[in-house]
Amino acid sequence: MSTHTITTQKVNFKVFRFNADEDYLPYYDDYTMEVTSEEVVLDILNRIKWDYDGSFSYRRSCRHGICGACAIKVNGRSTLACKESMNTMVDLFGSDLIFEPLSIKRAVKDMIIDKKDFWEKHDAIHPYLISDVDEHPEHEHLVTPEEAEELNEADLCIQCGACHYACPVVEINEDFFGPAAFAKAYRFEADVRDDAHTLRLVELHEEKQGLWDCVKCFECAEVCPKDVNPIEKITKLHQMLFKEGVATSNVATRHAVGFKHSIVKNGVLDEGGLVLYSEGPGIVKHIPVALRMFVKGKIVPPWGITKSDKLDEIKKLVKSSSTAKF
């Protein structure tokens, strides 16, 4: 067994300070500390409060990655403070670290934010099992290991908000449910005991708030401290919309399905044809940019598309391997 040596290094911290009751603008306090390889981000928050400034405020409780209270941003990255080691942070960002709340515009005091929007969206997706439970069962409601696997660990979410406040769409579109709510919705949609039928899916299909506004940036997967992988759940929910017949024809669903039409016809995409199929009459709004692109040789007419070689193979595979209908 190798001996475990504790190393120390000097780290400079820039720490966000703001008291919504008193301050007009936030400011940053600077600290330089010797940090050991044993410490996690939460230890530094504690040291700032205990050794430097008792008024410094942050949420903490379990210290074991379960309660989800202590998520903050370190150099812009959502980070569960009790989980991430200082070594990891220094590896990621170097020895100048910036501590900020998960969302600056929602800051109440220092690291503490108002998570109201997070909880509203969490509540909006019916985050509970909807089922007619027999209150006097004669035997257990058995769930097989294979059925439990279907949750894909979505049940590990601790509602820390790391993904929600890392999501660029949440910042722009206040109706958007966000990755945490989506992962939670999946957790119940994938549960064999759940009987909500299309209740959640119909709401998840709605534009602006729903799945179709996800930009597929993978920021949520990157920051989740429990490896819930929300984007994977978002993709699975998209597939469920089609599988359960909830998906109605709109620009986003036609866009997804349009890829198949294009592939079966050309192997490759017919970009113009895809936009036309997706938008329908709405294509007119693209005409000004499209004309400029045409002039610059960036639009190929349908008859000019170089189709994939061995297109017959592709047609055959599309026929034999399709699993979805629209």
Binding site: I172, C214, A221, T253, A256, V268, K298, D309, S321
Partner: protein
Amino acid sequence: MKKLKYALFTGCTAKQSTPEQMMSTLAVADKLGIELVELTEASCCGASHLQDYDDFLSLVLNARNIAYAEKHGLTMVTICNTCQLNTAMTKHRLDTNAALKAKVNEKLKEVGLEYQGTSMVTHFLYAIIDDFGLDKIKEMVVTPLSQFNIAPFYGCHNIRPSELQNETHKKPESAYRPTSLDDLIIACGGKNVDYAEKNKCCGFHVELQAPRTAAILTGNAIAGAMDNNADWMVTPCPLCHLKLDTQTGHASEAIGREVALPVLHMQQMLGLALGCSAEQLGLKHHLTKVNFV
């Protein structure tokens, strides 16, 4: 050094909305003495949208594309971040799930193909850095880009999810502090610009259904580069390129500020440094004029 040879998965945009990307890829490969065997049999990768509709079909189609690279016994290089994501994700899922791989191969057998998992899938940017080497690039630069501040725009699907980084190239990079594109800028003699949006999303994938979101993300990216004194931007992703180059009108309107910068594909930047001509690199195909060449 042994001559480098790859199977090229061009993706769809290189043949349609970003012809300059195809031209510059070939021009740069020629300068570097890299042989590219184009996978003309390949289909579209599904761009993560087919994946929302029919997961299994998208796996089969991507596995077929990789199978053709395997037939050549070559590493597959992509020139689009989203092609890279969908192809590498297919490989990841098939290589880690024997049952799924068998199911996909059952379909591929119908057309006489088999996915084995023997070809690596990497982006041309990473192939150049890992296999060709930046030191050699530096030696070959004939027109150093030393008068330019160049803003790298990485594009989500090359750097996230980071679990694919280990599998797609030799020197995995951080999604938070990526360096590949910065390193290439420096190797070309340019000055790399640091800005907060360099590893953020351009909004491409919701352009049709959420145009405001898409336009704000594009606007923020260009504004971030402009505010840090970038002369122009560079990206390895043609989809990011389409957003940043062709959507400046919508982006400016969305963020309430005029934004526009010339945006080059990483192949075009490298090509300029290696002495390729503007014609070879297709610089005339841009909507935001490349005004410095």
